[in-house]
């Protein structure tokens, strides 16, 4: 089959054609020639209207199950949903197993649930760039809520969370050490703390602990930030969605959403700068091997690079 042109892909996005959505995201992910055409033609207003939810937490806390349950609840409201499920690439082979898909399979035949699994592909922040583009492509293809789901507590996950309007951190009883490790980082950026599997022993203690961490945020806007769910039994989901909606309106009305989006766009732009410059610098390093201190060498490379740009 001939490869569709970017025009055809764009037309497909408007028709909400799954094939076109998939191909558009691949084009961006692979940095192919048509990516720019596609991205520049996307419907900006659609992008501003949508809500982007980030869901993260340690493996085993029940993120995918919770995501699947949230999808079901949103589908009951007839919302078209997009999901970007992120898994790490192997640093050795560059490959990845994108396993979160398993729990999304119940929605496989629902054309209003658009899922894309993405690997981090070992780029620094680069994933943020392609995931951001994927969000906009899904928005253009009619998705109203887009969920970015990511494992764990690494740097690339932090980057992705920056793309979200609202971030949910999922924990479950029995993850004591992980929680300690996260207090410094992800907990600060999370808007909600969801204690999943709250029927297990230890849930109440975990909630109390978390209430402490979230007290300031909670006092500011009066929205309850620590919530309990049992995703596998569909418990607590309505409460969670109501809280998300309340916060979403608050963020919208107070201008915080717009502010966050601005910051995210800046961060994403920076990521693209790095991503697009990378090959040129790799080339420059190969052309001119050096044994100086890396910092000094980097400065030299940048200096040379900007001189060349000037000359052109």
């Amino acid at each position: 089959m001939a490869t569709p042109t970017s025009k055809e892909i764009l037309a497909g996005l408007l028709r909400q054609d799954p094939r076109a959505i998939g191909r558009a995201i691949s084009a961006v992910e692979n940095n192919s020639a048509s990516a720019a055409d596609i991205l520049s033609a996307l419907d900006q207003e659609a992008i501003e209207r949508i809500l982007v939810l980030g869901i993260t937490g340690p493996p085993g806390a029940g993120k995918s199950t919770l995501t699947s349950t949230i999808i079901r609840a949103l589908r009951k409201e007839k919302k078209r949903v997009g999901i970007i499920a992120v898994d790490p690439s192997s640093p050795i082979s560059g490959g990845a197993i994108l396993g979160d898909r398993i729990r999304m399979m119940d929605h496989a035949l629902d054309t209003d649930v658009v899922v894309r699994s993405m690997a981090t592909r070992g780029r620094l922040g680069g994933l943020c760039a392609s995931a951001g583009a994927a969000v906009r492509i899904m928005a253009a293809a009619g998705c109203e809520t887009i969920i970015i789901e990511t494992v764990g507590v690494g740097q690339s996950e932090m980057d992705i969370i920056r793309l979200a309007d609202i971030t949910l951190m999922i924990l479950a009883p029995g993850f004591g050490d992980d929680i300690q490790a996260m207090k410094a980082g992800l907990l600060e950026v999370a808007d909600f703390l969801v204690v999943n599997k709250s029927d297990l022993p230890g849930a109440d203690a975990l909630c109390m602990d978390m209430e402490q961490v979230f007290r300031d945020k909670q006092e500011k806007d009066g929205i309850h930030r620590v919530l309990q769910t049992v995703a596998s039994e569909n418990q607590g989901i309505d409460h969670l969605l109501a809280a998300i909606k309340a916060l979403a309106s608050h963020l919208e009305a107070s201008g915080i959403k717009a502010e966050r989006r601005h910051k995210a766009m800046d961060a994403e732009t920076m990521d693209w700068v790095m991503e697009l410059l990378r090959p040129q610098f790799i080339q420059a390093m190969t052309d001119k091997p050096g044994r100086q201190d890396p910092r000094i060498r980097a400065k030299e490379l940048i200096h040379e690079f900007s001189t060349i740009q000037h000359d052109e």
Binding site: P59, G60, G62, R103, G174, E233
Partner: protein, 547 residues
């Protein structure tokens, strides 16, 4: 001179000289999972407390077997797992096997039956009658056992999530033969926990599944005292790629969960515990497997006695069925499989199994033909009557190496069970994927060793030949699916529909309450409600589990 001094001397002289001239085949000899195989086991391997660790057969801790005379009294039950296509075809195969001297039936159901779908369900497409017999209603079950007197044989049924329904059908078929439930002997697998981690025929979430299991225990206790109400299975865990120690650990951890659930439901330990049976895999490493069976038996006895405070010795006895390892069968040079099966069957017998299924040579290619099944059965008969291993009890006891390995496997399994409990128990470890990941990693490592040639599989990655000859295979006629569906529709047209709906409604109410489901299911089955219809009612109430 003491052993130590002698050992030192031997190492410096004979051993050093030998290693010098003939280096060993490998730098390190290991078992699957990485533990090292020692060059030479020594008497220090045998614990001095014979009574505590070994004791006598038929007596705690049952390391040497569960009966005092073992196979000198009665040989193990030779039980060949069989079933395919329609109930009528399978009935023919059962009667053939009984004629050939098999002493127990073992029913294989097709996948739609195992997952509670009728043959006309869209999910059943292509699977009807493939890996076992298709059972939709009581009518199929009547055909399956026609002309087989159910009070004379013991029947094992490999059925898990919908076990309660198939058991009900079996009871009603017996009823119609004029045989009461208390005369029925046999086993239902009824082990759902391992389905979530290894075999995949789950329907409901873990908690309602455990309730169904407990309902069966509760009903069978007084009504079916000769029937084993569960067969706690490591077989499939091993097939999925676990190590021997993991097989023991995960199986016993599941066993602990079933016991605890039944106790929590108010059942009396010494009432139900003697009807718990186990099911293990016999793989090709003969010595490791013998040690594994002995270790499992001892560990279970200790758990039942120390942890659950069992009083009756028969509650502490681990009785188990064994099947040779399907995953070791090669599709190349298939006659080699007969030899593999012989070694594996020998391990099961030396390990003290109560019943045994031997795989057939052609099972890596398709369902076994009648002649392959006969050879598999003959393998057991040769071990029983010609090899001499059945004439003395636990012949490997006292082997320095076997005793050492028995201790090692018991310890490794015990530690792993401890880890599972620390992490919240089996159900939590299924939900967070801990058990699945352990098995997956072991399977991956094993396969890597085969791919690299480090682990030799004869005829597969070494000693290959060009094979021209195509073996004769048994194929299930694709028309079976249509015929089965037609039969089901006929039953639906003939039965009293109002009665069916009334029984299903009663069942639903019972499922929503916490009353025992056995009676309402018996009634539904008597009315010819189908397996799929009954399971749909339960799905509605319990929900469905997804990986």
């Amino acid at each position: 001179m003491t052993i130590d001094k002698n050992l030192d001397d031997w190492q410096k002289n004979e051993l050093a000289a030998s290693l010098d001239r003939f280096p060993e085949r490998r730098e390190e000899f290991t078992l699957h999972g990485g533990s090292e195989v020692q060059r030479l086991a020594l008497p220090e391997a045998i614990d001095d407390d014979y009574l505590e660790h070994l004791g006598f057969p038929g007596r705690y801790p049952f390391t040497r077997g569960v009966q005092p005379t073992m196979y000198r009294g009665r040989l193990w039950t030779m039980r060949q797992y069989a079933g395919f296509s329609t109930a009528a075809e399978s009935n023919k195969r059962y009667r053939y096997l009984l004629d050939q001297g098999t002493t127990g039936l073992s029913v294989a159901f097709d996948l739609p039956t195992q997952i509670g779908y009728d043959s006309d369900d869209p999910m059943a497409l292509g699977e009807v009658g493939k890996v076992g017999v298709a059972i939709d209603t009581l009518a199929d079950m009547e055909t399956l056992f026609s002309d087989i007197p159910l009070d004379k044989i013991s029947t094992s049924m490999t059925i898990n999530s919908p076990a309660i329904v198939l058991l009900a059908m079996y009871i009603v078929v017996a009823e119609k033969q004029g045989i009461s439930a208390d005369q029925l002997r046999g086993t239902i697998q009824n082990d759902v926990l391992k389905e979530y981690v290894a075999r995949g025929t789950y329907i409901f979430p873990p908690n309602p599944s455990l309730r169904l299991i407990t309902d069966i225990f509760q009903w069978c206790n007084p009504n079916m005292p000769l029937f084993n109400t569960i067969s706690i299975s490591g077989y499939h865990i091993r097939e999925a790629g676990s190590t021997a120690a993991q097989e023991v650990a995960f199986t016993l951890a599941n066993g602990i969960t079933y016991v605890q659930t039944a106790l929590d439901a108010g059942l009396e330990l010494d009432q139900f515990a003697r009807r718990l049976a186990f099911f293990f895999n016999a793989s090709s490493n003969l010595l490791e497997e013998v040690a594994k069976f002995r270790a499992a038996r001892r560990l279970w006895a200790r758990i039942m006695k120390n942890r659950f405070d069992a009083q009756n010795p028969s509650s502490m006895m681990m009785r188990f069925h064994t099947q040779t390892a399907g995953n070791t069968l090669a599709a190349q040079q298939i006659d080699n499989n007969i030899v593999r099966v012989t070694l594996q069957a020998l391990a099961a017998v030396l390990g003290g199994t109560q019943s045994l299924h031997t795989n057939s040579r052609d099972e890596a290619l398709s369902l076994p033909t009648e002649s392959s099944v006969r050879t598999a059965l003959r393998t057991q008969q040769i071990i029983a009557h010609e090899s001499g291993v059945a004439d003395t009890v636990d012949p490997f006891a006292g082997s320095y190496y076997i005793e050492q390995l028995t201790d090692d496997i018991e310890l490794a399994a015990k530690e792993l069970i401890g880890k599972i409990e620390q992490a919240g128990g089996v159900v939590a470890c299924i939900e967070n994927g801990f058990i699945q990941r352990q098995i997956e990693q072991a399977a991956y490592d094993y396969q890597k060793e085969i791919e690299s040639g480090e682990r030799v599989i004869v005829g597969v990655n070494r000693f290959q030949i060009d094979e021209e000859e195509k073996p004769e295979l048994l194929r299930v006629d694709p028309k079976v699916e249509d015929a089965q569906i037609a039969g089901l529709q006929e039953i639906r047209a003939e039965r009293d529909e109002d009665e069916v709906q009334a029984q299903l409604a009663t069942l639903k109410l019972a499922a929503e309450s916490d009353s025992n489901l056995m009676e309402p299911i018996l009634d539904a089955v008597r009315a010819y409600a189908s397996l799929g219809e009954i399971c749909s009612v339960l799905r509605e109430v319990f929900g469905e589990y997804r990986d």
